[in-house]
């Protein structure tokens, strides 16, 4: 895509205005507008970063600096699904690496790589705040898949190939019996 073709739609520009209204400076909206851009293009490669900078009337160098600092921004194109496998502390001791290696074997790629069909990218990531539901992974900066086993991973891959993402899973405290009952109804 050439730089000229990149542009936000009116709806996106409206959303950007709503974001800007939360902060006293345009600069403060940088992270959020990078998110808007990533949702649209699936990545924030340099030309997309430039669009963000120009839209917010900020130096391009500032936006490049921010985009490179934060790990959730994709600075390169990724597969349709990015599988972020946590191998940090609790996940490490609960088999996070087994899950990662299983995925690598199944998809024939290593962490950091994308399958040839462009379907999957695997990444090894730090704690995602789901330590009690380890091992786990996150799908493309979105939904969490918890308490993984190899079988669950296989099923997940199968479903994703069909375009079916896992649903948000509510983790009710074990003490909260009434809530659990309600959830199961």
């Amino acid at each position: 895509m050439t730089e000229q073709e990149l542009a936000f739609t009116q709806d996106e520009l409206d959303e950007i205005e709503r974001i800007k209204a939360k902060f006293p400076t345009n600069k403060a909206a940088t992270l959020r507008v990078l998110w808007v851009a990533q949702e649209k293009y699936g990545h924030v490669k340099p030309e997309v970063q430039n669009l963000v900078a120009d839209t917010l009337d900020l130096p391009r160098s500032h936006v490049h600096g921010v985009a490179s600092f934060y790990t959730q921004y994709y600075k390169e194109e990724t597969g349709t699904y990015v599988l972020d496998v946590c191998t940090c502390l609790s996940c490490q001791v609960c088999g996070g690496y087994d899950i990662l290696h299983h995925l690598e074997d199944e998809l024939g790629i290593k962490a950091g790589e994308t399958t040839e069909d462009g379907m999957f990218t695997i990444q090894e990531v730090e704690c995602l705040g789901a330590c009690g539901y380890a091992p786990m992974l996150q799908v493309t900066n979105g939904v969490y898949a918890n308490n993984l086993t190899k079988e669950k991973v296989d099923k997940l891959i199968e479903n994703l190939r069909k375009g079916k993402k896992p649903e948000f899973e509510s983790m009710v405290m074990r003490q909260n019996e009434k809530r659990k009952k309600e959830l199961s109804q």
């Binding site: 992270l31 502390l89 609790s90 730090e126 995602l128 330590c131 405290m173 003490q175 009434k178 809530r179």
Partner: protein, 429 residues
């Protein structure tokens, strides 16, 4: 130590279906504390609210355990500048997964607590900063904020009192360091999350140079409880010097991992064996990391009679941190574990300070060598020496947080580390 915990009923996340909806929250006395303050502005002047919260000694649940009310009292007198409350929902300390439960199951308790804090400190704008990975919880929480606006608890002229308080939710994009309070402020300003040199402290010069207080989500969720029931009541829950309900996140090798709410000062053994159902596969307990990666690991034999509160954990040789407890069984490879911890800190160091940037890198490198069986005994002393060179010399506490686990894990499991080294010496020779 708390003994009668079996009859404890959760207060932060009570067992009430649909409590995340504002009508349900209101039915259960929700926003009563905030209304009470607004209805009795003389009894509940800003100073009195701060004093009550200070007397309750709500210890910061973000890791440092600082008295919330005392922190509020550091805000300067109002002047022409805007004033901010920045709520820390970055929740990135490995082993920690509690604040997301508040967003999901009782967001209004937190909103109410933040409102009371904002009132007490004459804050104009509340920012709620949530880690980017929690986007599903951001969406859930944003709905709650919308409801609170619709009901008139937020915005202009709140409940007809003439008080204006805005609440804006925003989120990060993946960086542990944005949980450090000034890293978070930088991120809120739309920049890289580089922690700031202190002083000046945020109360003097925080967001855009204006007075700002930073509190953790769970900390603020405790505030309505204090206003509703009083500081004395709050002080009666938990351990001496560490009070109130705590969300314990229990993970690792237990049968029933998860978040549990019990008073501060819970006996560690009760939490592991009764609450979390004991060690998986009937294995023996080897060690516990009591409150997130940064808190020093304790061997099983160091846990006898220890409870989850700052005094008891300090005496045992560790810290409460975030109460994210990682339980480790007899098969845990402490060398692998420690290497992975140093990998985390190296990855997350923002790189501003040389001792941290270089130090975390070296810790990881040397531990990788040991893990791969290529280490020598003298490497262990090199590691210990590096930890003293990293400590207390940096802009923020990440370098300390990286140094402590290395020092304590090696000292407390020295045999295991030496064994890895020795074998390699034989193998090489």
């Amino acid at each position: 130590m708390v003994e009668d915990w079996k009859s404890y009923e959760p207060l932060i996340i009570p067992d009430i279906p649909n409590l995340h909806r504002i009508e349900v929250y209101e039915e259960h006395d929700g926003y009563r504390a905030f209304r009470r303050i607004l209805d009795n502005p003389e009894e509940w002047s800003r100073t009195n609210v701060t004093n009550e919260v200070k007397a309750a000694n709500i210890r910061g649940r973000g890791g440092a355990g600082f008295n919330a009310g005392l922190k509020w009292s550091f805000m300067p007198q109002p002047d022409e500048r805007p004033r901010y409350l920045a709520c820390n929902g970055d929740e990135s300390e490995p082993g920690t997964f509690k604040d997301r439960n508040i967003f999901e199951f009782n967001p209004h308790l937190f909103i109410e607590g933040a409102l009371i804090a904002a009132y007490a400190m004459s804050v104009d704008v509340i920012y709620v900063y949530i880690r980017g990975e929690y986007i599903d919880w951001v969406r859930i929480f944003e709905k709650a904020v919308e409801e609170a606006y619709e009901k008139g608890y937020l915005g202009e002229d709140i409940l007809g009192t003439g008080i204006d308080i805005e609440m804006y939710t925003t989120y990060g994009a993946g960086a542990y360091i944005c949980g450090e309070e000034t890293g978070m402020l930088e991120s809120l300003e739309g920049k890289r999350g580089y922690p700031r040199i202190k002083p000046p402290f945020p109360a003097q010069k925080g967001l855009w140079g204006n007075p700002t207080t930073i509190n953790n989500i769970e900390t603020l969720a405790n505030v309505p409880l204090v206003i509703n029931n009083g500081a004395d009541w709050y002080q009666s829950i938990g351990a001496e010097d560490h009070n109130g309900p705590v969300l314990y996140g229990i993970s690792g090798h237990v049968n029933k991992p998860g978040v549990y709410e019990y008073p501060a000062g819970m006996p560690v053994e009760d939490l592991i064996y009764d609450v979390a159902g004991g060690i998986r596969g009937n294995k023996e307990l080897k060690a516990l990391i009591p409150g997130g990666t940064s808190t020093p690991v304790l061997r099983a034999d160091q846990l006898e009679g220890v409870s989850m509160d700052s005094n008891s954990l300090r005496d045992a040789g560790s810290m409460m941190g975030t109460a994210g407890m990682v339980v480790l069984d007899e098969d845990t490879d402490m060398v692998d574990l420690l290497w992975r911890i140093t990998h985390f800190f190296h990855h997350e160091s923002c790189g501003q300070c040389t001792p941290c940037r270089e130090g975390t890198g070296w810790l990881e490198k040397v531990l990788l060598k040991i893990k791969n069986g290529e280490g020598e005994i003298k490497d262990l002393d090199l590691l210990l020496d590096m930890t003293t060179q990293m400590e207390g010399r940096t802009i923020c506490a990440l370098a300390d947080a990286a140094a402590w686990p290395v020092r304590h894990t090696i000292n407390r499991f020295r045999d295991e580390f030496e064994e890895r080294c020795k074998k390699s010496v034989h193998a090489v020779a």
